[in-house]
Amino acid sequence: MENNPLETKQEYSKYVDKKSPNSPILKNCFNAFWVGGLICSIGQIILFYCKYKGLDETSSATIVSIILIGISALLTSLNIFNKIGKFAGAGSLIPITGFANSIVSPAIEYKSEGYVMGVGGKMFTVAGPVLVFGISTSVIIGIIAAFF
């Protein structure tokens, strides 16, 4: 490595951009597309099966979420989800599997800090903000709906 004196922040960020491997965006998008599509399709097949068994819409959707979350918890604990995530990027992050992984992964990782503040607390590093903004938005929408 050559030693570059980098004076300003701007220069530094240019330097980083140049040195960091330029992520092949088309390939990333393609992988995200088919893995994301596949995860949704697995959900859809579970949904078809629930309907085939005569369950109603709401219960079926909840069962789909629970099964997908269960699968990603299992894959996270076997350290397989990581590999899928590296390959698929947003393809495994954006479906509910990414939400599940964001809870399960720190739960395992911070076990050494104890079950209360380690597992119980760190579980929500990413899921916490998601729930805060999601639930707050839904309350606002509910209040608006109550008045109009």
Partner: protein, 128 residues
């Protein structure tokens, strides 16, 4: 094999395409902006909730099924839908109950499985 015959293959195809495209939007955000994955997840849930609140997202769900409900946009839309429905049932109080009620299964499952996983799995040593 009766089950296989009950599958709507066109819906499954639309589900694959729409679900995939939503993930591509996320991938473009990852590659083209410096947003962290936490921010992207928050963004998707919030946008989903707003689209659900405006009553737009249900058309995407009709069109693509799980392709619209499985991505986090659907999680947000589900929160909003729950809040609105509960408001229609019990009034203003429903705004505080409906959202979490609708998402309760997923949230409880994620927390429970996370806890179980932490009991069973060994943390890997971070290589960085």
């Amino acid at each position: 094999m009766e089950f296989l015959q009950s599958i709507d293959w066109m819906l499954l195809l639309r589900c694959f395409i729409v679900g995939g495209l939503i993930c591509v939007v996320g991938q473009i955000l990852i590659d083209k902006t410096k947003l962290t994955s936490a921010r992207i997840l928050v963004l998707f849930v919030t946008i989903g909730a707003i689209l659900g609140g405006l009553g737009i997202y249900k058309y995407l769900i009709e069109f693509a099924g799980a392709g619209a409900t499985v991505p986090l946009l659907g999680f947000g839309a589900n929160l909003a839908k729950g809040a609105i429905q509960e408001v229609q049932n019990i009034g203003l109080l429903g705004a505080f109950i409906g959202g979490v009620k609708a998402a309760a299964g997923g949230i409880a499952a994620a927390i429970f499985f996370g806890y179980i996983a932490s009991l069973l799995a060994k943390p890997k040593i971070k290589k960085q």
